[in-house]
Amino acid sequence: MTALAVRNLCKQFGGLRVTANVNLTVEPGERRLIIGPNGAGKTTLFNLITGEIAPDSGSIRLFDRDITWVWCHRRTHLGMARTYQIITLFANDTILRNVTLALLGLSRLRWSVFKDLEQQHAVVERARAALARVGLGHIADRPLSQTSYGERRRVEIAMALAQEPKVLLLDEPFAGLSIDERRDVRQLLNAIPRQVTVVMIEHNMDVALDWAERITLLHFGEVIVEGTRAEVVANPRTREVYLGH
């Protein structure tokens, strides 16, 4: 059984082929890194996998279940979670409320009209616990507008982790972070339980190279190289398209 299987996936924006016959197989518990230069189609691939956009052709399977035409929000219920490269959070709310919303998303409670959300201690406590796990417990009640960029990155990841996904898709979690903040995020990623399959996009190859078990190199929407860390780094085509020499 594979965690995530993408077969012959194609997507075209007008005349531009952003995803060209992509095949991707990720085993359960694997740490997969997807790298590629700007415009390689990395985020588009994520958007196709999560269902934010529909593919022109090809299929996507999640644990052997065909999800190609399953609605985006249903895929979350099937065990998929993602973070965004451009931080996408609820800026007017507290950190705690952000994570609470993540938990509510998978709970039937989200349709409740008669209960007071503040009084739903079980959910709120779970949100607090999720924040404590990523080291943000002490600022849980702080409005998001009063947090640093690095903290917001961790809130993004905390929201995804709070949903206890089977497959976690991280879109450039290190983008724009300082060295210290990178270390914090890195610790966070290392602490993710092994049963969670993690696929990470990273523009900057050095940041996450030692984290990945297998690496896929995308270029102009195509998979150019795929293999273990050593294989991909040693491959001449990697040097050619990615490292530029």
Binding site: H73, D93, V113, Q163
Partner: protein
Amino acid sequence: MIAKLRYGAIAVALVLLVTLPLWMGNSYYINIASQILLFAVFALALNVLVGYAGLVSLGHAGLFAVAGYSSALFLQAGFDHLFSNSAAIVITLVASAIFAALALRSTGIGFLMITLALGQIVWGVAYRWASLTNGDNGVNVSTRPTPFGISLASAPSFYFATLVVFLLALITMAVFVRSPFGASLRGTRDQARRMTALGYNVWLIRFLAIVFSGFWTGVSGLLFIYYNQFVSPQVAALTSSAEVLLMVISGGTATLFGPIVGAAIVVIMKNVVSAYIERWNLVLGVIFVVIISFMPEGLVPGSVRLARWLWQTTRFRTTAARPSEELKP
């Protein structure tokens, strides 16, 4: 401190509202109070969309009119009040669902334009389909209902009935806003994309919000036809939609009390100021410009901000004054 002030203010407002016919005396002013309350229900309903869902509708007068006309026509056909009103609410809910299904193909300006068009269709039907709606002459509603045998013919009794409905609407809104569903709806307003990724069916949440809003719009439409005992195409006109939208925006969107204050301003302008100044529309316009210029978030949140600022500056001054006093020999 702020919370205590808030509960105190609510208690005072409640006492004033319940005793209003006693100290107001003149039935003309009691009727204006009834109008304020029924339009407050309308504004609260629209605020669900404008404030909490971030969907600006310019077709809500259409739903208001659908409820009013449905009930008025059933009554005219000889049905009793209970049936006419229940049927009118069901029809309004169906109309809201149709509005929602069509308008939710878009958000933002697109949503606004589609609701505007749908509202105009209702207006067109009311105005031109004379064999059904009696066209420009409107439909008379000869009697008011007598719930539990209480006649609503007098101004104070109708006021109390309106007050009960208004308080029900307000409590419903307060519960709704605090509920998980209310939080979900605000989430779809702030980050629709993220909400989808978190597992929320954004379309369905918005759809249900429009139907919920349609329900209270319908209720206020029923209050309106009983108040006026008459309904005409003017009710469905674009200006009516714009007016109630102005109530919401001027009072403060996404606040519980903003739409009520907005409704009070507009109704008082229309009825009281118009008696003294012929160009009352001009006064209303100036008031809105002033509100939007100095309190762009609306009158209620703006006043709260002002009060906080005053509270803090006065406190700061007194604490800052103390050291200098200590320095005195």
